[in-house]
């Protein structure tokens, strides 16, 4: 999955009531639509937004190698969060948008955030031709190519990137045809990914520009109440192995053993869902990040696939100090399999 952050907790506005679960994801669905097992995903419509659902995201991460010989990671995310299950004209729109962008290297982690309201055109998503944008940040496709060819751009106070993405394999629907369960009591989201982009482009950093190539992974997910009240956060991995196989694996933490979910993607793009409890995630090392302990080295095992790897953060200080703070950064994989990927950890307050 990648139950990523969502809802704009506009702490800025003050007086926000303490929401349930991380970032209010455990809040009651109220009038919002809830995911149903019997509804099949439809494209290109489901590339676009679903205003009747409370939360939604377009989440792209990429592990890159620069012509300077260094490893980099970039993040580009657009979150949609609805205050009411509909869209309206102009400022009256209850749809809020939040963008996060970051460039991570071994020694630096640069990020920025944008917030906008729907309805006025400052931020939004169109399904065909595909385009997702907030301010001048964009993830834009070509006519009739869906998500398979994208231009990705964002900039902050001290960084800028401009990347071209081309999909090398099919899209992957997680769970049951895109219906992805997140808790034992059956909370779920719609969730699909494009895990196999080849990426080229340029990063502009304070010390100069770097040409980069690498792999990218896009997650699309929407729901209205994906977390149970006692679930406090999650640890999520997207790993691309040198063998050509890939894995999405995550654990939603609660007071006990947590709820795990994973999808194993074979080199040919075919995928298999891994049931709750099969994936084991065990922190082996923590780092102090912004005054809190965050696990930055993990042992990840999946006996079914003879997977037993150590996942290590490229930069343990990949902290996104945004309205909703969380940890998000590139990782390297060693052990039974080798490769690279992205790690996201939320709820470490």
């Amino acid at each position: 999955m990648n139950v990523r952050i969502c809802t704009l907790l506009l702490i800025l506005l003050g007086g926000a009531a303490r929401a349930q679960g991380f970032a209010g994801l455990g809040t009651d669905a109220e009038d919002f639509a809830v995911p149903r097992r019997d509804v099949a995903l439809e494209f290109p419509a489901d590339y676009g937004p679903h205003p009747a659902f409370r939360i939604e995201w377009w989440y792209l991460t990429s592990t890159l190698s620069g012509d300077d010989g260094r490893d980099y990671g970039i993040q580009w995310t657009l979150f949609r969060s609805a205050l009411a299950p509909q869209e309206a004209e102009g400022w009256q729109s209850p749809q809020l948008w939040m963008g996060h962008a970051a460039i991570t290297s071994e020694t630096s982690h640069l990020f920025d955030e944008r917030i906008a309201r729907g309805g006025i055109g400052q931020a939004g998503v169109t399904a065909a031709p595909f385009s997702a944008w907030i301010d001048d940040w964009e993830m834009t496709g070509q006519p009739d190519t869906g998500l398979s060819e994208l231009r990705l751009a964002a900039r902050g106070k001290d960084f800028r990137y401009d990347l071209q993405l081309r999909a090398d394999g099919p899209m992957v629907l997680h769970g049951e045809g895109g219906f992805s369960t997140k808790s034992k009591d059956g909370r779920a989201s719609y969730y699909y990914s494009q895990p196999a982009y080849a990426v080229t482009g340029i990063l502009h950093l304070p010390q100069g520009s770097v040409r980069v190539t690498g792999q990218g992974w896009l997650d699309r997910e929407w729901s209205s109440q994906p977390l149970a009240e006692d679930q406090s956060g999650w640890d999520w991995f997207s790993l691309s192995f040198d063998s050509g196989a890939r894995m999405m694996g995550a654990r939603v933490r609660d007071g006990g053993a947590g709820y795990t979910l994973a999808t194993w993607i074979a080199p040919d793009g075919s995928s298999r869902v891994v049931p709750d409890g099969a994936l084991a995630l065990e922190p082996t090392e923590t780092s102090v990040v912004e005054g809190r302990n965050v696990p930055t080295t993990w042992r990840v095992t999946l006996p079914d696939r003879q997977l037993d790897v150590t996942v290590t953060a490229l930069n343990p200080q990949s902290w996104m100090g945004t309205s909703f703070p969380y940890w998000e950064g590139p990782v390297s994989v060693t052990g039974s399999h080798t490769g690279r990927g992205y790690l996201e950890m939320t709820g470490y307050d």
């Binding site: 400022w91 309201r117 800028r160």
Partner: protein
Amino acid sequence: MRRAGLSALLSHWRRQPLQLLTLVLGLALATGLWSAVQAINGQARLSYADAAEQLGAGRLAHLTAPTGSIPLARYVELRRAGWKLSPVLEGKLQLGDTVFRLLGVDSLSYPVPPRPVSDSVSARPGDILTGPGRLFLNPDSAAGLDGATVPAPVIATRDLPVGVALTDISVAERLLERTGELSRLLVLPDQALGIAPLAVLAPDLVLTEPDGEAEISRLTDSFHLNLTAFGLLSFAVGLFIVHGTVGLAFQQRRAMFRSLRALGMPLAVLTQLLLIELVLLALFAGTLGLIIGYAIAAALLPDVAASLRGLYGASVAGSLTLRPAWIASGLAIALLGALIAGAQGLWHLHRLPILQAPGLQSWRLGSAARDRAQAMTGIGLIAAGILAQWLAQGLLAGFALLAGLMLGAALLLPPVLGQLLARVGTRTRAPVAQWVWADLRSHMPGLSLALMALLLALATNLGVGTMVSSFRLTFTGWLDQRLASELYVTARSDTEGEAISQWLIPRSEAVLPLRNAEIRLAGLPGRLYGVVDHATYRDHWPLIRAVPDVWDRLHNERSVLINEQLARRAKLWPGDDITLREGWNAKIVGVYSDFGNPNPQAIVSLPALLDLFPAIPNRQFGVRVAPERVAGLAEELSVAFDLPASAIVDQSTIKARSLAVFEKTFVVTGALNILTLGVASFAILTSLLTLWSLRLPQLAPVWALGLTRRRLARLEILRSIALTAMTACLALPLGLVLAWVLLAIINVEAFGWRLPMYLFPLDWARLALLALLAGAVAAIIPARRLRSTPPADLLRVFSNER
């Protein structure tokens, strides 16, 4: 020893409670008036800072459109080009009886969101952004709503000044009926790397860099300087009292000092103890002064707030916040005052030979040399003031002139009075009268400080009174000219405006559109009005300078009328050119008086205005109609267009409102005036009391020669009245000079307009009477004491070896 010494020193006050009272009260009054002014000024500055913060004017640059409104699409374009901007839609919102300045902000990007005072009304993002939304108001504003219907639940916040309401832009555009419009775009800090410059992206918008200082505080500086001057004056007058009392206390304790020294107390210790005593008294009196000051400030603040709002459009919270800095500065000034007042005494003590007889200083007849020196200093000060005004322009130079005149005149007072008394004395033949005059002269040094205080207080009173009355007279006349239309109507939209105008034309003598646009005039933000050619303007407009055929030229040539403020500030007069927009120059053909407006203003013909600003709203009208039809027409109009009561205002209401603003302004001045006069009267009382104890030796011989105590007492009162009367006579010319300076120099600098001076002899008479009364009252206590002095006491004077 220290403890015993201190208790010996303090025992003096136990025996002289009245002296203690005057000392404490004098210092408390001085501190109180000074602190009150400081509190008022501080509160106002705090409010300006809040306002600047909220309006983004303080720290952020902003974009505006020359046409007045920026389309929403333009904002989105700039956002999509990478600029971090925060849009603001501003308008007026009426809640109950109050019109608020409504700020509609994008709650997601607004850089300074207000913080709620309490959690009583939920302010979650969903509440603010959807449904009725939330309305943020200063607690004072919120309390003032008093059950009026509000469009959204109100949340109190101290981050907003009084008179400003803030809400989400989605709510504001509904309330203001201005969907898709924006007033300005704040340029947020930390812009992204490598975005195209605004000059390229938005050449049609005007970028205004943040002012180093908020506009409003520059405008109101003069007002606060006025108050500060008053505060200083009060403090000085208060110090006169303290100086007298402290001097007396030192004098009377000389015997005690001698005894303490003889008992072995080192001089250094004695000096220390006296210093400690002074500090303790100052802290006590200072605390009392702070309480008085707080009370005065709290009482005056609503009026100050009202006049600042009326004069400058500046909002000041009506309630006072107690700031630690204010308390500290109040105590410090009390301490400083006490030390200044006690310095002379301490100095004398320090040089006191250990065994000097504790005699009283003999009352010298005014030494001629000393009088001359004082007179020269006085003349020098006056000359310096005039020189300052001559060399430097500006408000500070104006105040320097005032200070020079006042202080110089005060210093001149004792020598002049001395001369007067000497002259009268030589003319009298009767022995008692001769004694009275001589006695008066001999007391001049002791009374001179109090008389100087009285002179200052009387002159200030007279000067300020003349200014206020002159202003009221001029202003009323000006209002009659300026508000020539009988009825003023405001429509809710341009279409409604057009409909109202069409409806009114057959029912009235004339409908005069009142259209204006914001514009920069000589580099300052101001307003440009467009007028139609009508006799109302030709007959009534209050022009203070104009070329011949001014109205013909205004309507037929590219010409403009400007207000007095602009003319004086930019030194532009008829015949000069002014640029209204690049490439759009106009000849100035007239200057009109424009009281109550701190900003530049200009008038062109309506076609010229529309040429410059094609898209300005047409919603306000002046209506000429026979006076007896005003009420009926207003009623019909209100019914025909379902207009709210606030949309139709008749001339008399506006006049009353305008006058009320000025009355409020002068309430403050008036109150400070009366307080100063009170303090001065108190100064005379304390001086007479001080002298009293020293006078017994001089009265005893006269009594022994056969004057009854009763007669002596009566003479005592008459003496006081005579001195007050002479001071009052001298205060009259000084007061008139002061009034002239206020009207012709200070007013021009502070407000930008000059006023004609009118004289009000009845007011003078009333003030003179008041002064005589104060003199008489001040002498009553010593006189009563004299009457009841046992003859034995008077006799003892002769038995005592002096």
